[in-house]
Amino acid sequence: EAGVAQSPRYKIIEKRQSVAFWCNPISGHATLYWYQQILGQGPKLLIQFQNNGVVDDSQLPKDRFSAERLKGVDSTLKIQPAKLEDSAVYLCASRSLRGSKNTEAFFGQGTRLTVV
């Protein structure tokens, strides 16, 4: 099966600019996660969708970060305006609720953001 697709792979922007990341999960996966992984740290969950609804966004800095999954498939994560401390890899993952793999998440390769 095709994996989780993310784009772009790399992005360099200046502080105070805006940026958007895109994720296409595995077909049929109802749950979608966005994580922020700062160098040397574990992935930090930013937001979790179940179909097109938000399940958890408690760690999303809502003054500058936003995410949507309008049709319950693709998702975009936006940062506006970006700060230096937003430099990180942004990982998207998806998980099915059906079958024996309903608890295993599959990850994309991530988008490496550098804010200068």
Binding site: L91, R95, F107, G110, R112
Partner: protein
């Protein structure tokens, strides 16, 4: 609060020796525990999971993990390390089922020395 903890930032092991990467958990109820591996410039790859059943779980690439309820641990093991096993390893937990959160420890960097 984190549901899983990885007490070691780095583990070094000689090629051919057994390796252990430690993880402890503090999930309430029945824990769903995972190990993922991350190679440079890649996303996380699933290695194995514990849901219920046997305490010894076998996964990809010869890795296994032992669930120990009394010690609240889920250590990752491999009998004979390969240089290609050098990577970042993350222990994770899924609280509940269905649409629950998947959270991770801070990670352990494994270096296998030729």
């Amino acid at each position: 609060a984190q549901s899983v903890a990885q007490p070691e930032d780095q583990v070094n092991v000689a090629e051919g020796n057994p390796l252990t990467v430690k993880c402890t958990y503090s999930v309430s109820g029945n824990p769903y525990l995972f190990w993922y591996v991350q190679y440079p410039n890649r996303g996380l790859q699933f290695l194995l999971k514990y849901i219920t059943g046997d305490n010894l779980v076998k996964g990809s690439y010869g890795f296994e993990a032992e669930f120990n309820k009394s010690q609240t641990s889920f250590h990752l093991k491999k009998p004979s390390a390969l240089v290609s096993d050098s990577a970042l390893y993350f222990c994770g937990s899924l609280e509940g089922a269905g649409s629950y959160q998947l959270t991770f420890g801070k990670g352990t960097k494994l270096s296998v020395i030729p």
